[in-house]
């Protein structure tokens, strides 16, 4: 029983990361109908920013030991800033010129950006994985056999908080309404006085901020940053977004957790080598019964 | 003998009832109009007849065969073809290619014969092109064969849609607002075309139409929908006098002003 609870916690931990990254996919897909293949790399850049920030504090001050809350907060904020800046540059250079281009052109452009970022970081770090300094004590809460690292709790809680905040942002703020309007119908939204360019940028920024922050916290959890670390979570998050119904915010969240937990459980049953098989088979199974995803809007025949 | 029989058909969208217990019969080789105010469920009815929607309840029979629930292409094969209210051509294909897609069911080329390009394939294809050209000429698009669909003028696009639907060689043709956006001259042409479809090609035509002049001018029988229900049917002059129809159209003024003229 306790093993099952532990597996569930493992699943929620990684699932939360998938969910937060998936939100970026789903938001961008919502407004632009494009798969931003480079989104996972923003997560990676966040993790590196976290490393450089915390390592800087470690080397030049004692703040990591005296007020870790402060340095962690700064790292997260910087991670967000770097990811948002990159995302906006990416949008401006690689995606905006392609807004009226054939549907698959931005996809390839995004793949190009993804390869570019990965290899720039590979060269910048000379292919050495960067190890986070010890900011978070690696101690754990223990209940019987169940163990939860503090940093893990932080990661889980933070992903919940992010998801909640994003939901409020989308539902309650003016910018959120604009995003939903553009997602619904870009041309109509534009006619109704919504600045479409700015809304698209907001969308990229919000998605990137989440990915950047997630990168920092995940980096603290796994304690390393490598140039390739964004790729697999990126693909998984994309899967999660589709599973939940791409374009749907609650769908991305649910899809992320669903995927994380199913990976954990299938590891128990079949071994980790088959967890991706299970995940994708589940995806197909879900899509066969709900072709529009768990929470996606049912697209009837467009009559 | 009724070619089409709609029996107690309803369709709901997430609780919203778009069509409620509608029954109607269409006689072969007639021109039937479906009218009603906006949101009356006319296009929903067309979508049900052509398989775009499945009825929530009720049955649809065409030529003695039940067609509701069939996939779209089976309904086309059964002999029903349609046009769309918001024109839906294959806009990056040429006019003649659009029509050739319509004749899909009447050609037999498969992968093997396409690669080998056997003489009979070539011959069949040529015949298809020939008949596509004739169809385009029939709808008044002679000389526009190689134009991309989205380059055509609005009225031409409507006619191309009809040509494409005709290429399916349906026994019943559903026209969704065929004269929408046309000037009076073009509308008259369209009326002439619709009559020719029935007279020359012996087709049954069902059309949704807002312009009462067209409806009264061409339809032999009219079904009136309002709020998803059938409120009246009969010959044009009878329907025009029906109190419920007049009420339904009150405020829109459409029926009275146009119908009277």
């Amino acid at each position: 029983m306790q093993e099952w609870i532990q597996l569930l916690i493992d699943g929620i931990t990684i699932g939360g990361v998938y969910a937060v990254i998936a939100l970026g996919y789903t938001l961008v897909y919502g407004v632009l109908r494009m798969i931003n293949f480079a989104h996972g790399e923003l997560f990676m850049m966040g993790a590196f920013t976290g490393y450089y920030t915390l390592n800087g504090f470690e080397k030049h001050s004692s703040l990591n030991d005296s007020v870790p809350v402060l340095t962690i907060a700064i790292a997260i904020v910087l991670g967000m800033v770097v990811a948002v800046t990159l995302a906006l540059v990416m949008e401006r250079i690689a995606y905006r010129p392609l807004r009226r281009a054939p549907r698959l052109a931005p996809l390839i452009s995004a793949i190009g950006v993804s390869i570019l970022l990965r290899n720039i970081m590979l060269r910048a770090t000379n292919a050495q994985g960067k190890v986070y300094p010890k900011v978070f004590p690696r101690t754990a809460v223990e209940i019987g056999e169940i163990r939860l690292l503090y940093v893990q709790i932080f990661l889980i809680v933070l992903s919940f908080v992010f998801l909640g905040l994003l939901y409020l942002f989308i539902q309650r703020t003016k910018a959120g309404v604009a995003i939903r309007a553009v997602a619904e119908d870009r041309d109509t939204a534009s006619l109704m006085g919504i600045n479409v360019d700015r809304t698209i940028m907001t969308t990229f920024a919000v998605g990137a901020a989440l990915a950047g922050a997630a990168g920092v916290v995940y980096g603290m959890f796994v304690t390393t940053a490598t140039s390739g670390m964004g790729f697999i979570p990126g693909i998984k998050a994309f899967t999660a977004a589709v599973l939940g119904g791409i374009g749907s915010v609650p769908g991305a969240m649910a899809g992320g957790y669903f995927l994380g937990i199913s990976e954990a459980i299938s590891t128990k049953f079949f071994g980790a080598q088959y967890k991706d098989v299970v995940a994708f088979v589940l995806l197909v199974a879900v899509l066969i019964f709900r072709p529009w995803g768990l929470f996606g809007k049912r697209e009837d025949k467009r009559a | 003998m009724a070619i089409l029989s709609v029996r107690h058909v309803s369709r709901a969208f997430e609780g919203l009832i778009a069509l409620n217990d509608v029954s109607m019969e269409v006689e072969a080789e007639t021109i039937v109009g479906v009218i009603g105010p906006n949101g009356a469920g006319k296009t929903t009815l067309f979508n049900l007849l052509t398989g775009f929607y499945r009825p929530t309840s009720g049955e649809i029979w065409f030529e003695g065969k039940r067609v509701d629930g069939l996939p779209l292409h089976r309904i086309a094969a059964a002999g029903i073809s349609r046009t769309f209210q918001n024109i839906r051509l294959f806009s990056n294909m040429t006019a003649i290619e659009n029509v050739l897609v319509g004749s899909h069911l009447h050609l037999s080329t498969n992968i093997a014969t396409a690669i080998l390009r056997l003489p009979f394939t070539v011959k069949q294809e040529k015949r298809a092109v020939q008949s596509a050209v004739e169809t385009l000429r029939f709808v008044g698009l002679a000389g526009r064969e190689n134009e991309l669909a989205w380059n055509l003028a609005y009225g031409e696009q409507r006619r191309l849609e009809i040509a494409r639907a005709l290429a399916v060689r349906p026994r019943m043709l559903l026209l969704d607002e065929p004269t929408a956006g046309m000037n009076p001259g073009e509308s008259v042409d369209m009326i002439r075309l619709i009559r020719a479809l029935r007279d020359d090609l012996r087709m049954t035509v069902v059309l949704i139409e807002h312009q009462m002049r067209v409806v009264m001018g061409v339809c032999e029988y009219i079904t009136v929908l309002d709020h998803g229900e059938k409120i009246s049917e009969g010959r044009p002059e009878d329907v025009q006098k029906d109190q419920r129809v007049i009420e339904a159209y009150l405020g829109t003024g459409a029926l009275l002003s146009e119908g009277a003229s």
């Binding site: 010129p97 390839i108 452009s109 060269r123 589709v242 088959y274 994708f280 | 779209l72 292409h73």
Partner: protein
């Protein structure tokens, strides 16, 4: 009348893939002049080929590659498509003889990826189905040949001839795999299909990696025998390059013919508006499956050749990168267009390899390993740049419209 008819027949015969000739107006006006011009072009052909062939000796591979791409680009964009194809064909046939091992290896890779691109193009370009798991078919072909012929597993087949038997077998197998994948997922739209196919590609790779008993797992299958053609062993990249090239010709020919038929029209209609296509009588599920099966068969055939050339295959050879590369080259080349695919393959597969030697040595700047270290950085940037500069791809599918010409239709009809 008779004269113009024979001319159009001639044009039709010369223009592979279509008999409604597009370039009618050029020729119709000054028939004799154009004919002379055309023959003039053929005379230039050997000269060009020789120049291209000698290029590597004088300019080195980097410049030759650049020149080759530019020449091809110009030729393929010009209106005389057939001429471009012939020049291209001649160069592709002649050039490898002037090349060294490395360059031949690249040429093989380019041709192989062009073949895969032609296959995926049927799925993505013609039918508009976004497939991110194309590697699955490539893998099934490669492993079929590997498992049947490698001595590790008994190698029960006569290796000398098995290649030519396995090739069609693998194509059929891959087509079946394609249909098996297609049936459950084809009612999914656009990006849903993309992720499911991506997952399918991964599933195949993971299964190969973990079914040790069958596939030898990550250790891979090796000592795969080379095929024979008659009594000649096709051992080097250059011999198998010609097998792939022939495969490209056949696949491109078949693909273009299918595209210009009723089947191709149905695909195009599905791509434009699936529901309307269906309501015009197109059985969309069947036609999508057909596209999947054809694309898969070509991918499977490519896999067999790959396996034979490589002589060792590993599950890691069939990762997501392969699918992404093939998709990217199809789109960069210009979707729905065989010539674009070939050009895309040259750029996408050729460029990163040619960049290996790239270095900058100007004045005090010495970046000797620039290419070796940064080639993927440059490659990523190039992908973005190409898409921004030419969003439709380098050779946008100059849509082959079924041009109606009275002469084409009326003449035989009058005769009957």
């Amino acid at each position: 009348m008779k004269g113009s008819g024979s001319l159009s027949s001639l044009r039709a015969a010369l223009d592979p893939g279509r008999y409604w000739s597009r370039a009618g107006e050029q020729l119709q006006t000054t028939t004799s002049g154009a004919a002379v011009a055309r023959f003039g072009q053929y005379a230039v052909l050997p000269l060009l080929a020789i120049a291209g062939g000698l290029g590597p000796s004088y300019f080195g591979i980097r410049w030759t590659f650049a020149i080759l791409v530019i020449v091809m680009y110009a030729l393929l964009r010009s209106r005389s498509g057939l001429f471009g194809m012939v020049v291209l064909g001649a160069m592709l046939v002649y050039l490898p003889h002037q090349m060294d091992t490395f360059e031949r290896g690249i040429m093989f890779d380019i041709a192989l990826y062009a073949l895969l691109g032609i296959g995926l193009n049927v799925v993505v370009g013609y039918a508009g189905l976004l497939d991110l798991g194309y590697v699955a078919f490539f893998a099934s072909g490669a492993y079929l040949y590997a498992l049947i012929s490698a001595p590790q597993f008994g190698g029960g087949f006569d290796v000398g001839t098995s290649f030519w038997i396995v090739l069609p077998m693998a194509m059929v197998l891959a087509a079946l795999v394609g249909i098996a994948l297609g049936v459950p997922v084809l009612r999914l739209r656009g990006d849903y299909l993309a992720i499911v196919t991506l997952g399918f590609g991964e599933i195949i790779r993971i299964m190969i990696n973990n079914q040790d008993g069958v596939t030898n797992g990550p250790v891979g299958v090796f000592a795969i025998p080379k095929p024979h053609f008659g009594s000649t062993e096709l051992s080097g990249p250059v011999e198998l390059y010609f097998v792939v090239l022939a495969g490209c010709f056949v696949a491109a020919f078949a693909a273009e013919r299918i595209r210009d038929s009723r089947v191709g029209r149905a695909w195009e209609a599905i791509r434009e508006d699936e529901d309307v296509a269906s309501s015009m009588g197109v059985n969309t599920t069947a036609y999508k499956l057909m596209a999947f099966a054809i694309g898969a068969a070509i991918g499977g055939g490519g896999g067999v050749i790959y396996s034979a050339k490589q002589s060792a295959v590993f599950p890691s050879d069939f990762n997501l990168d392969v699918s992404i590369n093939v998709l990217a080259l199809v789109i960069i080349g210009g979707m729905g267009n065989v010539r674009g695919v070939i050009l895309g393959a040259m750029l996408l597969i050729g460029l990163p390899e040619v960049l290996r030697d790239f270095s900058i040595n100007i004045a005090f700047i010495h970046l000797d390993n620039l290419g070796a270290d940064y080639r993927l950085v440059i490659f990523g940037a190039a992908l973005v740049a190409v898409m921004i500069l030419r969003p439709e791809g380098l050779l946008p599918a100059r849509r082959r419209q079924a041009q109606f010409e009275p002469a084409d239709v009326l003449e035989p009809e009058v005769a009957t």
